[in-house]
């Protein structure tokens, strides 16, 4: 009854239409092609944002197209509606039902990854360790008490300050009031002996707007803000390329305040014990490089090796050997790409379920045809 009533509405009829499925698949094909071409000149991040994570996009700057995000949502709704209203629930169609279940698992894994997976990195010198990873693109304003034994950080996304929002940090009893935010800035230092206008860790006197690169990794933001505390305020200048935190005077002491790439906390500490790189003879091209690390929590300690194509997986985190650097003094830094994705296995499960559904459907069809053939009288025969 309900299905029949809902089918009366044109929108619902459209949603369960098989032609919508075909159009969506064709659009995904076109978007994949355009995204691949776009990536050549603009990089993978730009291609992802423009074609795959968007709801609408302009191909070649003027052809309006739905983004892959919208197409996939329509496809999910189409699949769900068709499963509910069009599908014939019979035992002999169980294979098709399993295939649909597998497709839902794939969609679920895809959207969960899109909205909840974290991709970040961890750069460590030999002997160093930490429990935080760093985002590739997003920034935060972080503050902590430099006099404290532990670094207890309170952080707010820089995007909130870019939007002009004042933010209260109750842990330290201060409020951040942004004055101006630069998506990409150049910093200039004070002339010798000139009085400081801004509180800043490196003597930076001013920021200037710089052209924003389509590759966000090339942008270094800056922010001018007022840090208000109970007994006064301070004018603070923060710059993304400035590794020194500003020392901001507040009631009862000082706070270290820094504009830095967003940090994510892991429930474990990763320490780089050793890094090794091997090179092809007479060249600077590495043939292999690998990191020996120790993972530790209060409950356990685990040693592991991470090398190219051999990531380390632990507690929903995957650590890939991404790159390395050797500075002028010979110190080796290993950079690990860190992906935290609790739905990591869902696409594998979905693929298996689809495979199972195809096998069941194939076997059912085969058996059914054989039965039909054996049940039907042979063609011709005695007259």
């Amino acid at each position: 009854m309900l299905a029949a009533a809902i089918k009366r509405y044109p929108v619902v009829r459209l949603l369960i239409d098989l032609r919508v499925t075909v159009v969506c698949l064709a659009l995904l094909f076109v978007l994949t092609f355009l995204g691949t071409m776009h990536q050549i000149d603009n990089g993978i991040y730009s291609a992802q944002k423009k074609y795959f994570e968007s709801f609408f996009t302009l191909a070649a700057g003027f052809v309006p197209l739905p983004g892959a995000q919208l197409v996939l949502w329509v496809l999910v709704v189409n699949l769900a509606a068709a499963t509910i209203y069009r599908f014939v629930y019979k035992v002999r169609r169980i294979g098709i039902l399993i295939i649909h279940g597998g497709l839902f698992a794939l969609f679920f894994g895809m959207f969960f990854t899109q909205y909840f997976a974290q991709e970040s990195f961890l750069s460590l010198l030999e002997g160093e360790g930490g429990n935080v990873t760093t985002d590739y693109f997003d920034w935060e304003v972080a503050m902590w008490d430099p006099a404290g034994e532990a670094r207890r950080v309170a952080a707010v996304d820089a995007g909130a300050l870019a939007a002009g929002n004042a933010v209260s940090i109750s842990r330290y009893g201060v409020e951040l009031r942004p004055q101006r935010y630069f998506a990409n800035a150049q910093a200039f230092s004070r002339a010798g002996g000139a009085p400081a206008r801004w509180v800043n860790g490196s003597g930076i006197e001013s920021l200037q707007e710089a052209r924003v690169s389509p590759d966000p990794q090339e942008n270094f933001p800056g922010v001018l803000l007022t840090v208000v505390h109970r007994s006064g305020s301070a004018e603070v200048l923060l710059y993304g390329a400035d590794v020194a935190p500003a020392s901001v005077p507040v009631e009862g002491g000082r706070l270290a305040v820094s504009l830095r790439r967003k940090h994510y906390v892991m429930p474990l500490v990763v320490r780089l014990d050793d890094f090794r790189a091997e090179f092809y003879p007479n060249s600077d091209t590495p043939s292999s490089f690998e990191s020996d690390v120790t993972l530790s929590t209060p409950q356990f300690t685990r040693s592991a090796r991470i090398s190219m194509n051999h990531p380390l997986r632990h507690a929903g985190y995957t650590f890939y050997q991404a790159s390395y650097a050797i500075d002028a003094t010979g110190r080796e830094t290993s950079t690990l790409a860190v992906v935290h994705n609790r739905s990591r296995v869902v696409p594998y499960v979905g693929t298996l379920v689809v495979g199972l559904g195809l096998a069941v459907h194939f076997i059912q069809t085969l058996v059914l045809r054989r039965r039909t053939r054996s049940a039907s009288p042979p063609a011709g025969g005695a007259a």
Partner: protein, 208 residues
């Protein structure tokens, strides 16, 4: 029965009210930026990061660089990323030299040179600027750090201040050594500046 089934349907105006309430709720949530709190564990930080860890106290932290102060110069306390500062005086004239480290390319050499030109009241055409940048003198510190030195005293005299600067990469950061003050004293202190730059070394340097 008929009346009961009708009562389940939300009237159209009420749907708009519900939508509006939902929109306001979402907007209210969006207006309140979330503050994240976490404890950051840092094991055996690099000398560079250790030196920058925390504010005014950073002056007391070990600097990532070592140097030899020229005999006639007075060393001043560092300040955060301003790792060191020096003063040299002759009569009523003086020059100040700072050693600064910034992350990344720190805006780039050209932008900083243009800024310094502005500080001493000079403007160059595009060709002159390119020529000045290309004319930077390549020097190497005793620790093997390659730096490029830009001598602003070679440019037209302003009768006022001038600058001598050495810039170069140290790992993923950029080192700036800059001397500024009256142009006659900057020129006179050039040899001492060179000896300071050549004496620079990284703490804990050497192959690990």
């Amino acid at each position: 029965m008929r009346h009961r089934s009708r009562s389940r349907v939300i009237p159209v105006p009420a749907r708009y009210v519900l939508l509006a309430v939902a929109a306001v709720a979402v907007a209210a949530c969006a207006r309140e930026p979330r503050v994240r709190e976490y404890d950051e564990v840092v094991i055996k930080r690099s000398p560079v990061e250790a030196a920058f860890d925390g504010s005014g106290a950073a002056a007391a932290a070990p600097a990532p660089l070592v140097w030899q102060t020229p005999p006639a110069w007075q060393e001043l306390p560092g300040d955060g990323i301003r790792l060191a500062a020096f003063r040299y005086e002759q009569g009523d004239r003086r020059v100040e030299t700072t050693v600064v480290m910034l992350g990344g390319i720190a805006g780039g050499v050209e932008a900083n040179v243009v800024r310094w030109l502005d500080q001493i009241g000079l403007q160059l055409t595009g060709d002159e600027l390119a020529q000045f940048l290309a004319g930077g003198e390549q020097i190497t510190t005793g620790d093997g750090m390659p730096l490029t030195m830009y001598d602003f005293t070679r440019l037209a005299s302003t009768g006022g201040d001038s600058i001598l600067a050495a810039v170069g990469p140290v790992g993923e950061q950029t080192l700036f050594v800059k001397m500024s003050g009256h142009e006659s004293l900057v020129a006179a202190a050039r040899t001492d500046f060179m000896s300071l730059v050549e004496s620079l070394g990284v703490v804990g340097g050497g192959t690990s």
